[in-house]
Amino acid sequence: MTHSARVHPPEDLLWDYHRGRLSPGMRLTVRTHTDLCPQCRSELRLFDAIGGALLEDVEGVAMSDNALDLALARIERPEEPESSATVTHPGFLDGFDLPESLKAADIPGRYWVAPGVWMAPVRFDEDSRGTKTYLMFVKKGMVMPEHTHRGREITLMLKGTFNDQNGSYGRGDFVLCDETIQHSPAVSADEDCLCLVAQEGLILPKTWLGKLLQPFARI
């Protein structure tokens, strides 16, 4: 892994990830980023280390009288086998170097939204209304006209690069867009692009992206 992510989740998002308060889609983007980013993993470890130190400092609250007996009884019981989740992992994802978080994700299928562009929704076991999460593949050299966003949108780069007015983004980069960002991202001409997207707020019709994405007119 030579490339290290340069663009990281904002600190409040990382904190909300630590305490488990993100929607499933947002959580998956942060988890995927941390799979690819030693710096943010280290930040999360610091959170755990602080939590541990604060736990150590806490004055205990007495457990009920039979708590220790119960605990000693429970360790004698056989461990119920971990329910090994059956996860759909379709063939079209073969050949991509996916982080662990996405290997474990439930991704039943994909649909094409334009020539050279497909989307593959991520399915969650819990309520994920309000956020739409999908892998998006874009053939090299595509560009989107200038647009803005409604609600928060995260693009987590997995393969390839894209550029906009604000910079260039590659594997692991965590790109957060909202209403305040207006841009026209262009996928690198040299390499296809795969990213994980989580959109909060407005759910756009399937055809929207296909209409927006155009082959990049090379100059």
Partner: protein, 210 residues
């Protein structure tokens, strides 16, 4: 890049323990790290009882502070300690102190419970166990002791301590803290940022400058 100043920044051996809590005589065989190792090596029930007695009440208190009822907190403490028993072989004292590992187990359980996930579970967020060395994980905070962090936290300016402790003890978002303290969000964020930066600096500095 290997990491070889463990002994400098932490892991004050049991003999150097300045902890004033009335724990059992911290002989080498009853440090929490050692107790977990005894469970891993020989399913040592005495070790488990000691560990349980020491940490279950703290876990209960910790999550009650975060808003769980006494019963929920008691159940979570039980489940967390059961996981300590079952996963003891995964504990790696070179990566984390026992209390940090226990905290992370409880945190994951708490998150799972909140999600009420029935069928598919997320990959556990096991930052401390299992995974082979990822090449760039040479960061210092893999190895520090809870004690040195505790000292560093105590040395933070009161404003920073307050927001840090509220974050953990009350399980609050940055926005919640801003509201609770009637502070601008930016102020909360910058205090936390400063606090984290100081802890990182303190942990990476030889001698753990506090």
């Amino acid at each position: 890049m290997t990491f070889d100043h463990i002994s400098v920044i932490g892991f004050a051996g049991p003999g150097m323990d300045t902890d004033t809590t009335p724990l059992r005589d911290p002989t080498p065989d009853s440090t929490p790290e050692r107790l977990i190792a005894r469970i891993a090596e020989s399913r040592d029930r005495d070790a488990y009882a000691l560990l349980f007695t020491r940490f279950a009440p703290k876990l209960k208190a910790f999550v009650m502070g975060q808003g769980l009822s006494a019963q929920e907190a008691e159940d979570l403490a039980q489940d967390a300690m059961l996981n300590v028993w079952r996963k003891a072989h995964l504990f790696d004292p070179a990566k984390a102190t026992a209390v940090t590992w226990i905290y992370s187990i409880a945190r994951n359980l708490r998150i799972d419970a909140a999600r009420k996930a029935k069928r598919v579970r997320d990959l556990p967020d096991d930052l401390w166990q299992g995974e082979g060395e990822k090449p760039a994980d040479q960061e210092m905070i893999d190895h520090q002791s809870a004690q040195s962090i505790s000292v560093l936290i105590g040395a933070l300016p009161p404003d920073q301590q307050t927001v840090l402790k509220m974050s953990f003890y009350e399980d609050l978002s940055h926005g919640d803290i801003a509201k609770a303290l009637s502070l601008p969000l930016g102020t909360v964020k910058s205090r936390l940022r400063l606090a984290l930066a100081r802890l990182k600096t303190g942990l990476s500095a030889p001698g753990g400058r506090a």
